[in-house]
């Protein structure tokens, strides 16, 4: 398959989700920008709560990713099914962590200003 063929398929596959994806990316960038402006550094800031929440979101994907694809967890059975599912869980956890980690920094900063 050509590169433009792969792009065409991707374009058709993503078109229905373009707005949610764009909104998600914008939200992520805005949270990061705001947090950085207030001194947030990803590696330096620790927030076990964000990590736990990200893990929980990832685990919840075990239920809702099959449901989103009109299927169920019981049908995730072959080795490749599990590779794909685990990749989806890791991806999901990462995205949630990337959003919650700076967000919690912003919340804490506001709380400490109030204290």
């Amino acid at each position: 398959m050509t590169f433009s063929g792969a792009l065409t398929i991707l374009m058709y596959a993503l078109t229905p989700f373009l707005w949610p994806i764009a909104a998600g990316v914008v939200a992520l960038v805005v949270v990061h920008l705001l947090a950085r402006l207030r001194g947030y550094r990803m590696m330096a800031y620790r927030c076990p709560g964000a990590s736990l929440a990200a893990m929980a979101a990832g685990v919840s994907a075990l239920w809702w990713i099959p449901a989103f694809t009109h299927s169920r967890l019981a049908y995730v059975s072959s080795v490749f099914d599990w590779v794909a599912m685990i990749a989806a869980i890791i991806g999901m956890s990462l995205v949630v962590w990337l959003a919650l980690h700076p967000f919690s920094y912003l919340l804490r900063g506001r709380r400490s200003r109030f204290l």
């Binding site: 065409t8 398929i9 058709y12 596959a13 009109h70 299927s71 169920r72 099914d81 794909a84």
Partner: protein, 462 residues
Amino acid sequence: MPQHPLDPVRLDRRRLLQWSACATGLLFSAGLQARAQSSNARIVIVGGGAAGMAMANRLSRRLDGARITLIEPREVHHYQPGWTLVASGVWRPEKTMRSNARFVPGGVDWVRQPAAGIDAPGRQVELSDGTRLDYDYLVVATGLQLNYHLIDGMSPELVGTHGIGSVYASIEGAARTRDTIDAWIAQGQGKGIFTAAPTPVKCAGAPLKMTFTTLSRLEASGRRNDFQVDFLAPGDALFSQPWVDDFVKQRFDEQGVTRRHHYRLSAIDPRAREAEFTFVGPDSEFTSHHELREAEFSREDGRTVVTDYDFIHVVPPMSAPDFIKTSDLVARDGPFRGEWLDVDIHTLQHNRYPDVFGIGDVIGAPINKTAASVKAQAPVVEANLMAQMQGQTLPARHNGYTSCPMITGIGKAMLVEFGYDDNFAFLPSFPFIDPKDESWVAWVMKDRMLQPAYYAVLEGQA
């Protein structure tokens, strides 16, 4: 009608076209194959479904100056592989429809009316309004015809009434099939009959998929045991790929589906909700080779059984459209005689008219009536047609590749890919997906990825 394909007057013009195309071809090295080749040939593509639209896009990119005409009466393009999901209650019907206008490439003349006839020796296509279009090269991509009339008492309008379903009828028919299955399940009990056709059919897996998705729904209702499910097939096999055939039979047995072989649906009495099946004999093997002529459908001496039903899934006999069958392009002998387009199943060139190529459901081939086959056939027809225009030997061969995401329940499937070479051996595209595994990923491909891939095929990109 004169039968000889080589009309001397037109041969001159064709030779001229070949020489000019050949000269242009020589200017390009093999590495620049994708560059446009100049030609003033008149190319007519009959049918703008999966195959015709893919060819229109490919040829318009590859040929500079050629006059390409696409004959397609429909404004709406139907993604037919989605109909099984519509009839199973998984997709909304709208998801399968797009405007044809968005796929027709610029520079292609789109004739919005049906072709009514083909004069192959005279190199003309006749349109329904009586106009005639001359061609130098013809691509036949009309798809196939559903012959519901060969089942006494049956017509596509009955789908959705009297417990009759048929996923093949149309998108409306698929939606009405879903409603009929809903009504049957809501009844809480009863007998469902699923059938197969005694001819080659498009997506031969669809009747099986409809059975499996309905079984899923019956099981989900919690009252599976109150429903009887029968599958009646005209041949020994339920599917042409031997391993999958065994698998499906075993799975049907495990899921309580009563199989009856060598019966074809011959008549239906919708008001009485009765179906008549004719025993076609243990020697018949209709599912992969078409041996049953139209006359045989009306034979009176067959042993018949009449059975009642609460739901019946009708799969009609299929053939090339009538105007192809009455043209000189139809197969004259062999298993496809009188019913399908006569092409070489590897080069896809017509066996008697070398300037005619066939692609998609209309061709006489042992298997291969899927959009996945179209994806594999389109580059072959493109390369061979270009070579034919340059008077060169045809370089490309189709190995019969076809693919059927065999849905074995709502939410799981097997990505079955095989071809007619090498005794229907598997031809997996992805080394990490075993065609023998039921998997969620194969289902996700069917549910999410194959429609985008199909549209890329239409655009000539895949």
